[in-house]
């Protein structure tokens, strides 16, 4: 399984490459009121609107002090889509690379980021109207 890997704090995560539509530079992100801090806003790409999620803010509860820089991953799966903002992209890891290389150097295995679980987590944090 090929994964697109990225760092959040000191942990390496991987999301299945088949779900990654594009690695997109952070362009216009439109902020949205009444959403949680990890929700950076909305971005538009080729006819579709994506919720932009700051992964460190969500997973580590460390809120961005300023607007995060760097690329975001546009992912789509099961009729859902998100723009994920990691701390830093690590690259594309193919299945064959996930084993230690011959020289014995340790390659950290990425922790799989399961998008359905991520969606459920996000859903729990999004305030419904009556909760505000």
């Amino acid at each position: 399984m090929d994964t697109v890997d990225f760092w959040i704090a000191d942990r390496l995560y991987g999301v299945e490459a088949r779900h990654v539509l594009r690695v997109h530079p952070q362009g216009r992100v439109t902020p949205v009121p009444w959403m949680p801090p990890f929700y950076l806003g909305l971005t538009y790409f080729r006819g579709e609107v994506y919720d932009v999620i700051h992964l460190r803010g969500l997973l580590c509860r460390e809120l961005p002090a300023c607007k995060p820089q760097g690329a975001m991953l546009l992912v789509r799966w099961s009729n859902r889509q998100l723009a994920l903002v990691p701390d830093r992209l690590a690259g594309l890891l193919s299945e064959t690379q996930s084993h230690p290389p011959a020289d014995g150097a340790r390659v950290p295995l990425p922790e799989p980021l399961v998008l359905d679980q991520l969606w459920q987590t996000l859903g729990r944090h999004v305030p419904r109207h009556f909760e505000i």
Binding site: T30, V32, Y50, N79
Partner: protein, 549 residues
């Protein structure tokens, strides 16, 4: 030198497949408008092309069937015969048979297919008004012949010629404006480029809006996608069923309709399998032998409302009660206290199945909750009405579904918001803050960075019992906004009507009027207002359903 026939076969497969897909759509449209000679002429031409290609490859059986079918289309185009449901069904069956053989790239080698072909050709050689075909086989058609249960994807849009002409004209103007800009720049003129650039940007905006209008799809074309599948399902289950499409001239955003394609198919499949009774049973009940599924699309205010209904047996309340007892641990008394809407909403739960037994078509755990999920994703609402022996209706409401709406675009703090222009009465200066009951919900936003901030404008809403007003730091004006559903997480927040795309590519959030009304004012009691709009009344899986039972 040998002729590489496989190359020609590949071309045949590709082109015939395209023609067959177009024919499916044409027959679907002809089902809604059987007297439309243009549709039949188009169908004739496409069948004629298939025939010609098949003849070149010496695929005699396909040639013969296409020839027989095109004859009927010609008769319907010339209005010397009238297309009825039986003849449409027969043509669809002919298309399916050609499609299967085209995929195999062989001529009818299968004995069963050859027999079916001969029956079909014989039927097409008879008068269209009295096709001599056998009724639906009681056991349904064999599984290997079963048609796909998904409706075809939206691959084509009917676009008015005038719109395309306008687009071409605009494109030419853009090119000319670009050339003029380049010329002015080359001449070193100092003042002109700004005016030229402004003109170019204006043209690009017009171009963008014209393109947005091209993405609209008529409900009639959309309904045609489902007709073949519904007919096929009817044959598979041995039930006579017809799909009626209402609201055909209405147009909606094709991207939105595409998102609803599979959920609607799911509802129709459920209607055929669980709702529509077999013909004999319907006759005993005094109903027409053929069941009816209705897809109705209406625009209600700023909402698009899609209804899928059937005239079948209604929701099986016995199965609902059994589910509530087994899975929820409720007894009859507790079930009796549930509202009709809560009972209806039970069928949206993930574990609920309407199937008595596992079949190829039902009972595989793909319940209606997937429909509820899809509607929720689009920030819509789903209501269910059901009456024993009269049928079931699923009513899907979607916010601001049309591609372009005129909205007031304004800013509060860092947020760009939009509100349908029809909701705006007037805009006042800062002095209006004292005179109006200003929304505390938005005032909190305005003051989030600076508690002493005093917004420059007040937007007074139309039609409120009391004058609800919104603060604003700046007003961008009333603009055409391409509105997309507030999907994803934004949809879950249930506060926004959609996401608006402005002419310059910027996006904004389109507010829901009722949320603003209820969001509290300086003089009101926010808590009480919020309770009034709690989402129990519009929710998907809770009290969202109602019932006429």
């Amino acid at each position: 030198m040998s002729l590489d026939i496989s190359k020609y076969e590949q071309i045949f497969v590709r082109e015939a497949t395209q023609y067959l897909e177009a024919l499916e759509i044409l027959l679907g449209a002809a089902g809604q408008d059987p007297a439309n000679g243009d549709l039949w002429r188009d169908a004739y031409a496409k069948l004629h092309s298939i025939k010609g290609m098949a003849r070149a490859l010496e695929l005699d059986a396909i040639t013969g069937l296409a020839h027989a079918m095109e004859n009927w289309c010609r008769l319907f185009a010339e209005k010397t015969a009238c297309a009825d449901k039986a003849s449409l069904d027969l043509l669809v069956e002919g298309l399916e048979l050609i499609g299967r053989e085209v995929e195999r790239r062989i001529d009818l080698g299968d004995v069963a297919h050859r027999e079916r072909l001969e029956t079909l050709v014989a039927a097409f050689n008879a008068s269209p008004q009295a096709p001599s075909v056998s009724p639906p086989r009681p056991g349904g058609i064999p599984e290997r012949d079963a048609p796909p249960l998904k409706p075809p994807a939206i691959e084509w849009l009917s676009v008015p010629f005038g719109l395309v002409e306008g687009l071409m004209g605009l494109s030419q103007e853009v090119l000319q404006a670009g050339a003029a800009l380049r010329q002015t720049e080359a001449m070193g003129a100092s003042g002109a480029p700004a005016a030229d650039l402004g003109n170019l940007l204006y043209l690009i905006r017009e171009l963008y809006l014209a393109l947005a209008r091209m993405r609209l799809m008529s409900v009639r074309d959309y309904g045609a996608l489902f007709e073949k599948v519904v007919r096929s399902l009817g044959r598979q289950t041995g039930r006579g069923v017809a799909l009626e499409v209402r609201g055909g001239t209405l147009q909606a955003d094709a991207a939105l309709l595409d998102r609803l394609r599979e959920p609607l198919m799911h509802l129709m499949r459920n209607a055929v399998i669980h709702g529509i009774e077999p013909g004999d049973e319907r006759e005993r009940l005094g109903k027409p032998r053929e069941g009816r599924i209705v897809l109705e699309v209406q625009r209600e205010g700023e909402r698009l409302v899609l209804t899928v209904g059937d005239d079948g047996r209604g929701i099986d309340q016995g199965r609902v009660h059994a589910y509530l007892k087994a899975k929820k641990g409720l007894n009859e008394e507790e079930i009796g206290r549930l509202s009709p809407s809560a009972l209806c909403a039970t069928i949206l739960e993930p574990g609920f199945s309407g199937a008595a037994q596992l079949t190829e078509l039902a009972g595989r755990g793909m319940g209606l909750h997937v429909v509820a999920q899809a509607v929720e994703y689009l920030s819509g609402s789903l209501r269910i009405r059901s009456s024993p022996s009269q049928g079931t209706q699923f009513v899907i409401g979607l916010p601001l579904a049309l591609a372009v709406a005129y909205c007031l675009v304004f800013r509060i703090g860092p947020y760009w918001l939009a509100l349908p222009a029809s909701d705006v009465q007037r805009i006042e200066g800062r002095a209006g803050l004292a005179a109006q009951e200003v929304s505390t919900l938005l005032m909190d936003l305005a003051r989030s960075g600076d508690p002493s901030a005093r917004p420059a404008y007040v937007v007074v809403l139309r039609g409120a019992q009391r004058g609800v007003a919104l603060p604003s730091d700046s007003i961008q004006g009333i603009q055409p906004v391409t509105v997309m559903p507030a999907g994803g997480l934004l949809g879950q927040a249930r506060r926004f009507a959609g996401v608006g795309l402005l002419e310059d590519g910027q996006i904004c959030v389109v507010m829901q009027r009722e949320i603003l009304d209820a969001g509290g004012t300086g003089a009101g009691a926010p808590g009480a207002d919020r309770a009034r709009v709690a989402f129990g009344s519009e929710g998907l899986s809770g009290a969202g359903g109602d019932s006429e039972a």
